[in-house]
């Protein structure tokens, strides 16, 4: 079986995000980029399945420009066998559905039997793409999975469903699984992997290569339009209480109850 891992590059989690001059996006000029952390869990799970000889090959699927190649190389260095970069001028302005269409087409083209993706990307936090990919392909899906087992043509997935309840979902392959934190510990790239990744070619597929109608993706096919970006309101300043400890505790409790209304 071939596992496809959807991988997105995002600004590093400790980045300070600035809105660009036009107010229509993020100023990426001095942002350090990294692999979306949830995608790292997806990649690691795929690599573990390959190590266990359950999967034959792991292929990375990335929608992005040439600036995303470094992230793809990182994934190859960790042990992914192949990668394709999905890039076309027609892809610009895609919403989640457009991205899902591109990824679904790439997965089909590569003969993928299981798609692993992060449960969300930490830049826009939409959590939409994996579910949309599954829907477009007509495959079963489980989201926010922190444990996965495969057995022949079926899978068993564990997920937190809130309130301390844990769901166990079984289904058949092919399927789409989105990964949560706790699923595994992503490995580091070994030097051997780094040097092997150097020699790998990363093909670029455009809309035509994927058999996609350009009108179904990008700005042309988008059902969601971003109107404006703005900074969140500044956080009000904190207050420091003074005086004797017993009176400060009383004051603190009063403030938490009456003003902050958290008690």
């Amino acid at each position: 079986m071939i596992i496809g891992v959807c991988l997105k590059q995002v600004p590093a989690s400790d980045s300070r995000i600035k809105i660009d001059g036009s107010g229509a996006g993020v100023d990426a000029s001095d942002l350090k980029m990294e692999i979306n952390p949830y995608d790292e869990f997806a990649l690691e799970e795929a690599l573990k399945l390959k190590d266990a000889k359950v999967a034959k090959k792991v292929i990375v699927l990335t929608v992005g420009g040439s600036d995303s190649e470094q992230r793809i190389r990182d994934a190859l260095a960790r042990g992914a066998d192949d990668a394709v970069r999905l890039d076309d001028a027609a892809f610009a302005g895609s919403d989640s559905l457009g991205i899902a269409r591109i990824l679904a087409a790439a997965a089909q083209k590569e003969g993928v039997g299981l798609i692993l993706a992060g449960k969300q990307a930490i830049d826009d936090d939409n959590s939409q793409v994996p579910a949309m990919v599954a829907e477009l392909l007509g495959w079963p899906q489980v989201t926010v999975v922190d444990k996965l087992e495969l057995d022949g043509g079926s899978f068993k997935a564990w997920r937190q469903s809130g309130g301390g309840v844990r769901d166990v979902v079984t289904g058949s392959l092919p399927a789409v699984i989105s990964a949560d934190k706790g699923m595994n510990t992503p490995r580091y790239a070994k030097l051997r992997g780094i040097m092997m990744a150097k020699r790998k070619k990363i093909p670029v597929y455009d809309a035509a290569a994927l058999g996609l109608d350009p009108a179904s993706v990008g700005a042309a096919g988008a059902k969601v339009t971003q109107v404006n970006w703005s900074e969140p309101p500044a956080r009000p300043p904190g207050r420091i209480l003074s005086g004797e400890v017993p009176s400060m505790v009383k004051e603190l409790v009063t403030l938490l109850r009456d003003e902050a209304k958290v008690l």
Binding site: R73, D74, A77, Y188, K190, L191, R192, I194, M195, K198
Partner: protein
């Protein structure tokens, strides 16, 4: 210096290794005065970090020295000096001679498991009577059939309490002190090898440092690295890599000292303004940052020449000299601006002040570096001939 995507990925792997496998445990290891070398080196070995420039037949990656410099630089992200130093001994200080001059048999037996992280190595050069003056060492290896019998001692041996083998410099004959020395492999479990004590040091406390005695230690002659009598020369070559490595390793720590000091002095108020707002402070930090960049440029230049196969004795000595001096200057200046907090044992700046002090002493003291540079400049006064 041309940094490729492979260098970048290596840097990222080393950075993650430091953040996850070293920094969280640093306080514990500093307190214990030792760290789990076998466990940590095994992890580093699995990632390929201990044999970047070593031959591929023995598990290395056969890369040029820029990769060691990149790794050493990122290893400088450790919040302590002792662990990178210990790793540097394993990867770049005790193994270059074996990798280059050792027999295939010896390399298979000792180099391969050291690169893999299965064996821990230490470098035995210094003795109580001879530190930077390497030619004066007294430890003797006397030929006895197919064996050497070794007697003597070694002092200030990094990794000495945990090492499985030592790359030791010993006298194998009488005669000119530059021609009578050899490098040998001494397995530390050989009868007669005594790890006398773990030394109590000012800094680098998480790294174990030993005093070691050799009492009639018998090793086979096949444990000789390269030619008998070539030890001094090989150790001098080995020092080149050690000095470049040390220069690269110091950079990030110094940058971190500046960053921590900016943070600390920005938050601390005195006489109506932050400490950082005093021109003497922010100008000083700007000047030191400039010096760090200048040192980086020197390290990169020396590395480039070394990769091209040039003799970099002068540049590597300059790297070593400047690293030690600048590290002391940065640590001291930063600690000063931390005030009372800087004098507290547990602060990172105090640890840096203690740890960096060694750089001007270990691997050849500043004064030895100056002598080497003077010698190459032709300004060293000639030794007076003894009157007969």
């Amino acid at each position: 210096m041309e940094w490729t995507d492979e260098h970048r990925m290596l840097r990222e792997t080393v950075t993650k290794f430091v953040e996850n496998e070293i920094n969280p445990f640093v306080d514990e290891w500093e307190e214990a005065g030792i760290f789990p070398a076998h466990e940590l080196f095994k992890k580093a070995g699995e990632l390929g970090l201990l044999g970047l420039t070593k031959p591929e037949e023995y598990g290395g990656s056969g890369l040029d020295y820029s990769y060691s410099v990149a790794a050493a630089e990122e290893l400088g992200r450790c919040t302590v000096g002792g662990i990178p130093m210990a790793m540097g001994v394993q990867s770049d200080m005790a193994t270059p001679a074996l990798a280059r001059f050792g027999s295939d048999e010896l390399r298979a037996e000792f180099l391969a498991p050291t690169i893999a992280g299965d064996k821990v190595v230490c470098l035995g050069v210094s003795e109580a009577v001879a530190g930077s003056d390497v030619a004066r060492i007294q430890t003797k290896a006397v030929s006895d059939g197919d064996d050497y019998i070794i007697n003597g001692s070694k002092l200030w041996i990094t990794n000495g309490m945990q090492a499985d083998w030592m790359c030791a410099l010993v006298n194998t004959s009488e005669g000119h002190p530059h021609m009578n020395k050899s490098l040998v492999v001494i397995p530390m479990d050989t009868p007669g090898v005594v790890r006398a004590r773990k030394l109590n040091k000012l800094g680098m406390r998480s790294s174990d440092t030993a005093e070691i005695y050799f009492d009639e230690v018998r090793i086979p002659k096949r444990f000789l690295i390269g030619d008998e009598g070539g030890g001094f020369f090989m150790q001098m070559l080995q020092f080149q890599e050690e000095r470049l490595w040390a220069g690269a390793n110091v950079l990030r720590g110094l940058e971190r000292a500046i960053e921590l000091t900016i943070e600390q002095t920005r938050g601390r108020k005195a006489f109506g303004k932050s400490i950082l707002d005093n021109q003497v402070v922010h100008y000083r930090l700007a000047e030191l940052s400039t010096e760090i960049e200048a040192l980086r440029a020197l390290v990169y230049r020396a590395t480039e020449e070394y990769i091209r196969g040039e003799n970099v004795t002068m540049l590597a000595s300059m790297v070593k000299l400047k690293s030690g001096r600048l590290a002391r200057e940065v640590a001291d200046s930063c600690l000063q601006y931390w005030g009372g907090m800087g004098f507290m044992w547990e602060t990172e700046i105090a640890r840096m002040y203690r740890d960096t002090r060694l750089i001007s002493i270990g691997g050849g003291a500043d004064e030895v570096m100056l002598s080497i540079i003077c010698k190459l400049m032709g300004t060293l006064p000639e030794k007076k001939k003894k009157r007969s």
